[in-house]
Symmetry: C2
Subunit: 423 residues, 2 copies
C-alpha cells in the first residue's frame, strides 16, 4: 500500500481537527482509498497541543527547514492562518518537492501565483478545498465536476459570521450591534470582527472562486466590497414585509468580455434557494452553461468540517500521479476588465418631511437619471415620514447621482440606506 507522510503546520482548531480525523480514520482511509497516511511531523509553538492529540513529541519539528528536509514528509498541511510566515513556509515546502494543502484563504487569495510558480518548479501539488466553504466541496466541484461548463454566474453565502448575525437579526428583529455582541460572546464572531463584517473574508473566497470560474486570476483588490454594519433592524423588517431576506452575497458574473465581482448585502427574494440558508451555514449557487443551476450547501467553518475538506485534499493529492497545474493564475484580471458601473435593482430608504410635493420631487430626480420605480411605500403620516423605493434595473452611476440629488431636496431629511436587490 502507498505510504504517505503528512506534516501539519499549526495545531489550532482546524489543524487539531485535521490531526483528529487523520488519526481516527487512518484505517478506513487505507481500506477504502489504498493510501496509508501517517502524521510524520507537526509544527507549533505549544508542545501540549501535540501531546493532547496523543501524538509523540518526537514528531514536533523545530522549524520549517526540518520539515522540508524530512524525507518521510510528502504533503505539508498548513493551518496557521495569516499571510506570513504561512506563505514563506509553503513556498519552501513546494520548492522542496512537498505537495501542499492549505485552509488559509487570505494567504491563498493574495499569493496564489507565487505558490503556483514554486509548485511548477518541482511538480508538487497545490490543494485548497478548505480555503472556501469549509466542508462543502465547492473547489472540487468547480475543478473536477464542471469541466463541460463555462461558468456564467456565482452567488455565494461564504461567511458564516455575517450569515449568523443577519439570520438572528431577521428572526429576532434585533439590531446589528446587539446581535454582534451576543455572537462574540457565543464565539460566532471574533473580538475584532472587521474581517468578517466588512466583507474581507468573503472577498478572499470570491477571489478564489471567480479566478477558477473565469480562468484568470481575479485579485482581491479589484473586488467591490461592502459589509453588513449599516444594515438596521428597520431594513430587515421592511425586507421581510416585502417578501425578501437580507443576505451578504459574494457575486461574480460573466458580462461579455468583462466580469462583475462584488461582495455586498442584498435584498434576496424569499423563494431564492439561497434565501433559506440560515445561521452559520454557507452555500454557493453556480450557473454553468451546460449544467444550469447547481447549489452546494454546508457548514462553512469548524474543526471537523474544515478538517474534512483538508483530509479530502490529502487523500486526493496522495492518489494523484501527476498534479494539475493552473498556469492561468499568472494571468491577472485588471480593473478595466471589471464592470465598474454594474446594473442592479435598488432598495432605497429615506426620511422626508410630510409636505405635499416631496414624493413628486423625488420622482422627478429619478426620472432625470432614468431610474424607474418598481415599488414605493410610505409609512403613516407623522411629521417625518419614512419612504421606501424599490427601483427597476439601473446602473450604480445613475443611482448614485440620483441619490446625491435627492439628498439635496429641501424636504428630504436623510437617505437612511441603499441596498442592492438580487434576484
Amino acid at each position: 500500500m502507498k505510504k504517505v507522510g503528512v506534516a501539519v503546520l499549526g495545531l489550532g482548531v482546524v489543524g487539531g481537527g485535521t490531526c483528529r480525523i487523520l488519526i481516527d480514520r487512518k484505517k478506513q482511509i487505507a481500506e477504502e482509498y489504498g493510501v496509508d497516511i501517517d502524521i510524520a511531523a507537526v509544527l507549533d509553538r505549544i508542545p501540549e497541543r501535540v501531546t493532547n492529540l496523543g501524538l509523540d513529541l518526537s514528531i514536533l519539528a523545530k522549524d520549517i527547514d526540518e520539515i522540508c528536509d524530512n524525507p518521510n514528509v510528502n504533503i505539508v498541511v498548513e493551518c496557521m492562518g495569516g499571510s506570513e510566515p504561512a506563505r514563506t513556509f509553503l513556498i519552501k515546502a513546494l520548492e522542496a518537492g512537498k505537495s501542499i494543502v492549505t485552509s488559509n484563504k487570505e494567504m491563498f487569495a493574495k499569493f496564489w501565483p507565487d505558490l503556483e510558480k514554486a509548485a511548477a518548479k518541482t511538480g508538487a501539488g497545490l490543494y485548497y478545498e478548505a480555503t472556501t466553504g469549509g466542508g462543502m466541496p465547492i473547489i472540487r466541484t468547480m475543478t473536477q465536476a464542471m469541466q463541460a461548463n463555462g461558468i456564467q454566474e456565482i452567488k455565494a453565502i461564504i461567511n458564516g459570521t455575517t450569515n449568523y448575525i443577519l439570520t438572528r437579526m431577521t428572526e429576532e428583529g434585533a439590531d446589528y450591534q446587539q446581535v454582534l455582541k451576543d455572537a462574540q460572546a457565543l464565539g460566532y464572531a471574533e473580538a475584532n470582527p472587521v474581517a468578517d463584517v466588512e466583507g474581507y473574508d468573503s472577498s478572499y473566497k470570491l477571489s478564489i472562486l471567480s479566478s477558477l470560474a473565469f480562468n484568470k486570476r481575479v485579485p482581491v483588490d479589484i473586488i467591490y466590497r461592502e459589509g453588513i454594519t449599516k444594515i438596521t433592524a428597520e431594513d430587515i423588517r421592511i425586507a421581510k414585509d416585502m417578501g425578501f431576506v437580507i443576505k451578504l452575497l459574494a457575486i461574480a458574473k460573466q458580462r461579455g468580455d468583462k466580469i462583475e465581482a462584488r461582495v455586498h448585502p442584498v435584498f434576496l427574494p424569499k423563494s431564492h434557494p439561497l434565501a433559506n440558508v440560515n445561521g452559520s451555514f454557507n452555500a454557493v449557487f453556480v450557473v454553468g452553461d451546460a449544467v444550469g443551476d447547481i447549489m452546494l450547501y454546508g457548514r462553512g467553518a469548524g474543526a471537523l468540517p474544515t478538517g474534512s475538506a483538508i483530509v479530502s485534499d490529502v487523500v486526493f493529492c496522495a492518489r494523484q500521479v501527476e498534479h494539475a497545474r493552473y498556469p492561468e493564475m499568472f494571468n491577472v484580471m485588471t480593473q478595466d476588465q471589471i464592470v465598474s458601473d454594474f446594473e442592479s435593482d435598488y432598495y432605497l430608504r429615506l426620511n422626508a418631511r410630510d409636505v405635499s410635493g416631496v414624493i413628486a420631487d423625488i420622482a422627478s430626480v429619478f426620472k432625470k437619471y432614468k431610474v424607474s420605480i418598481s415599488q414605493m411605500r410610505q409609512d403613516e403620516s407623522k411629521e417625518v415620514i419614512p419612504v421606501i423605493f424599490i427601483t427597476h434595473k439601473t446602473t450604480e452611476k445613475a443611482m448614485k447621482q440620483a441619490i446625491e440629488e435627492i439628498k439635496s431636496l429641501p424636504n428630504v431629511l436623510s437617505v437612511e440606506n441603499v441596498i442592492r436587490v438580487e434576484k
Copy 2:
C-alpha cells in the same frame, strides 16, 4: 497534448447533448484541462442523428465489436438506457481495455459488480456520475470529497418527475391523476410512468448512493419501495396546514451494524433544506461524521445537465493515469443487514363515524401497541368525520398492527392514508 477518442453509444436526448458539448467545448476543454477530445465513433440505428450533429457518417460504427477494435477509441460513453444490450456492450468495451462512462442507472444499479469485474481485468475505468442526480456532482462528492467521513445518512429527492408532480399538487391543490396527465402532456412524465411514480427510478439511484456510502453493495431488491400514486390532494392540504410538505424521498441510514434503505413519500417539515426543492429539481442531503450536513442541488435530468456530468466524467477519466477500483462492490449486503422494522413518526388519516367514544377506542389501540400520539385533529362535525393523527417515533410493525386493529373498530369507516414523517 494528450489525445483522447470517445465513442458514444446512443444518440438520443442525453447522447446527443453529450456530443453537442464535446463538439462545442472541445477547444476550451483542451485549453483548461490539457486533453484534446475527439468523437471517434458513434453507434445508433438512425444515421440522421449523426449528420444532424454535424458529424461525419464515416464514424458511425456497424456494431459494438467495431468500436472495441478501434484503436482510436479510449473511452466508451453509453447513453442507450435499458439493461440490455447496454450491459453486454459495456462489458465488451471494458474487456477490450476501453474505459466507460455511463448514464444508465437501471443497468448500473443491477450489474455494477459485472462491470467492476470486467474493468479489473484490463485496468480500464468505470465512471457513472450521470446515473444519479443529472448534472449535480453527487458521485464525485461522495468519492472524491468525503474521504474523511463515515456517511451516517442520505436523504434525497432524486426523481424529477415525482417531484414535479408533488410540487404542482402542492401549488395547485390538484389531484394526482389530473397533474400526472398534464405532466405527460408537457413531457415531464412518460406515457408509461410506472418507473418514476412507483419509485423504481429512485431506488436504482439510492442503490448506487448507499453502496458508495456504506462501502458494500446495496442491491435494488432489498430497498423498501413505495410510490406516490396514493397521495391525495387531501393529504397535501393537511400537510400544508400542519407545516409540512410531501416529498418522495430516497433514504439511507447507518444503524449500528445494519442499515436502512427505503424510498417512500414523507411528511417533511417546511424548514428542512429539502422542503424547498421544487419542480423537476433534485437534491441530495448527506450527513458525514466529520463534515456534518451538506446538500447538493441541481437539475436531475435533461440533455445538457446530464451531458455535463458525462463530459465531466470523460475529462476526469482522460486525465487519470490509474483508475480507482471498487472491489467492495463484490461484497453484497443481504436482507438481514437491512433494518426491516425501521422507526419513524407517522401521519395517519382515517374516516370515522361521529359517535362518542370513537377517539377513545382508537387511542386505546395506540396505547396497546405503545404508539404515542404527537398531534390529533378532527374536522368539523358531520356524519363521517376525518380524523388525523401524527405519532411520535414508533416501529413499522407496531404501526401496522395498530392500523389493522383500528380498521376493525366498529365506528372506524376507513383508513385513508398512512405516510411516514421524516425530520
